[in-house]
Symmetry: C2
Subunit: 191 residues, 2 copies
C-alpha cells in the first residue's frame, strides 16, 4: 500500500485499505492508528465521532478514486462499449494481486452496514450513484435517452460490483471478464 | 426468523440469520448461543472448530435453500428467460423486509473472508457454482451449448449478487429489477 499526503489523508488511506482487506467490523481504530503510524490523538482529533466517521471518509475517498478511473476510461476511448470494457479490464487486471483491489470496500462496507448505519449506507449509495452517472453521461453523449442511460448506468454498476465480488471469491478475474463480454449485448449502439 | 428442527440445525439457522444481518466479524459465538437458546456445550459439541466451522455450515445451509428456490422457479416455468426472471422477482420481493433477505450471507461472507479463510472461501465458491449450474442446466435443456450455458450461468449469478447488494444498499428492489430486465437481452432464445 502506498500512503502519501498529510496526517488526515494518511489515516483515511490506511482505513480504506484495511476496510478493503478485512471489512468494517474486523477493523479497529487501534489497528488504523498503528498502521497509519499516526499519533493516537490525531485520529481522535480528525475523526471525533470514531470509526463510523472514518469509514464514511474512507468510502468517499475510494469513491472519488474509482470515479476518476471510470472518467479516465470514458475520456480515453470514444466508443462507450469499448470505454466501459476498458474500465472493467483495468479492474480485472487488479485480481493478479487480490489484496490490492481498490473499490471493494464500498461494496463490502455497504453490505456489512446497510442495516446498521444510515449515514454509512447513504454515503455508499451516493458513491454508487456518482459512478453510475459517469457511465450514463457517456451513453447520453452517444445518443441514448436520459432514462435509458440512467438505468443502464445502474445496471452496469451493479453487474461490475457482482463481478468484483465473484472474482474476489474465486480469486480469478474470469467472472469480471464474463461481465465485460455482456457490455456490447446490453449496450446496443445508437444511430 | 423461523427456527425449527434439532439443536444442531437450530444453531446453524440462527448463525445464518445473524451472519446475514451483521456479517461474519460482527457475529460472535456468544450471540449465536444466546439467540439460538442452545446450551453453550452443545455449540462446542457440534462445532468443535468454532465460528469458522459454523460459518461454513451456515453458508452450506443457505446455499441449499437458495438452490431449492432456483430449482423451483426453473421447474415451475418452461421458458428459461421467464423462469430466471421469476426467481429474481421472488428475491426482489424480499426487499420489502430487508432484514429477512436470504442469500445475502453468502455474498457478504465471501467478500469478508475471501482473503482470510480458505475453507470458507471455497465453501462460498462451491455454493455459487451450485446456483450457476441450475441456471446452466435449464439453458442446456433449451438448446444452449454447454460452454455458453455455463458462462451465462456464472454471468447471471454474479449479476443477481450485484443486484442484491445494490438493492440492499439502496433499500429498494429497483437495481434487482433492472438486472431482471436484462435477462431476455443476454439470454437470446435458441431455435
Amino acid at each position: 500500500m502506498k500512503v502519501k499526503g498529510d496526517t488526515r489523508e494518511r489515516i483515511i488511506q490506511t482505513a480504506a485499505y484495511l476496510f478493503q482487506l478485512q471489512g468494517y467490523h474486523a477493523t479497529g481504530l487501534n489497528q488504523i492508528i498503528k498502521e497509519s503510524r499516526s499519533p493516537r490523538g490525531s485520529v481522535y482529533y480528525h475523526f471525533p465521532n470514531g470509526k463510523e466517521e472514518l469509514a464514511i471518509e474512507a468510502v468517499k475517498y475510494t469513491g472519488r478514486s474509482i470515479e476518476e478511473q471510470i472518467k479516465e476510461s470514458m475520456a480515453q476511448i470514444l466508443d462507450p462499449v469499448e470505454a466501459i470494457q476498458h474500465f472493467i479490464g483495468v479492474t480485472a487486471s487488479q485480481f493478479n494481486d487480490p489484496e490490492n483491489v481498490e473499490g471493494i470496500p464500498v461494496g463490502l462496507l455497504a453490505s456489512e452496514t446497510a442495516l446498521i448505519s444510515e449515514p454509512l449506507r447513504c454515503t455508499c449509495v451516493k458513491v454508487f450513484k456518482s459512478w453510475a452517472n459517469v457511465f450514463a453521461k457517456k451513453l447520453i453523449q452517444h445518443g441514448f435517452e436520459h432514462e435509458e442511460a440512467e438505468q443502464l448506468g445502474i445496471t452496469i454498476n451493479s453487474m461490475i460490483e457482482g463481478g468484483i465480488m465473484f472474482s474476489l471469491a474465486h480469486k480469478d478475474k474470469q467472472p469480471l471478464l464474463l461481465i465485460s463480454k455482456q457490455i456490447p449485448v446490453i449496450v446496443q449502439k445508437k444511430g
